[in-house]
Symmetry: C2
Subunit: 169 residues, 2 copies
């Protein structure tokens, strides 16, 4: 009877793990309370970029408010409600095109949420980053955003945004 009990217990564990794997876990909020936008992978492109100081490829996406602003050239300042997402991958040499760098391992997704009043202490933008495919929130406590803000301060005159929307027809 004891053995049968253990068998049942193991089955329960297996079933629970199965469910956990089937349903994708929702990432935890960032330490400053910001939540990852649910549909960010479906957002439209603002620009790609490539950084050789840390060997990474990036694509910068925008939510509807940000895309509308980017296309209208309405980015100084960006309007409240705009969210910019940056998806970052480590460089990988393409196996079929020698001189092409393509996305390797997924590094992180990071976000800037524009709300001039709410995020006044950090230049009108709220910052958050989720690491890896596990989407682990970055930062030990809410002070992590000071690090983001410091790095974006050199482009204060561009409303703290490095990205220039790519030209398109």
């Amino acid at each position: 009877m004891k053995r049968f009990g253990i068998f049942i217990a193991l089955c329960s564990v297996a079933a629970t793990s199965g469910f956990a794997m089937a349903e994708k876990a929702i990432p935890l909020p960032a330490p400053n309370g910001l939540e990852i936008p649910k549909d960010y992978k479906d957002w439209r492109v603002i620009a790609p970029s490539h950084r050789t100081d840390n060997d990474s490829l990036r694509v910068i996406l925008g939510n509807d408010v940000a895309i509308k602003a980017a296309r209208a050239g309405n980015t100084k300042p960006w309007p409240d409600g705009a969210i910019l997402a940056k998806l970052v991958w480590k460089d990988r040499k393409d196996e079929n095109w020698e001189d092409a760098t393509v996305p390797g391992k997924f590094v992180h997704a990071e976000f800037m949420f524009k709300n001039a009043k709410k995020f006044n202490a950090t230049g009108g933008w709220g910052y958050a980053r989720w690491l890896g495919k596990e989407q682990k929130p970055y930062g030990d406590d809410a002070s992590f955003a000071q690090e983001c803000y410091a790095c974006h301060t050199p482009v204060k005159s561009r409303d703290y945004v490095y990205t220039t929307p790519a030209q398109t027809p």
Copy 2:
């Protein structure tokens, strides 16, 4: 009376030009008859890439059929109806981040349209490219597609597609 007639005629020309400028011209079809997808700039991302042999940054987008296939790993072969768009920009050194390459001048938008039967002669894909911000169709006649097909033949085992969909969470 004659002078008044000329004045009216000039006003008509001015009004017509005004309308022509207000409405964005629709690009001509490619020499093989393929038309540029109207909403391609709103498509979702499959991957960015960077080529150092011709100093260009790229972003590869997909229509809904292509995105569904890419996310499901259903790309050998890609399903009929899938369209891949590649937007290409010349490299530009970012003025605020020394080691970042960002999009400069828009080079072209090029497309692969999957239809195994219709495009059987070119590996199941129809090819087209529109140059510059003017979106001038590439190629003097329909034979231009042989050039595209030849360049994609080394990756026949990948259904003629170089791009590997980028990993995401």
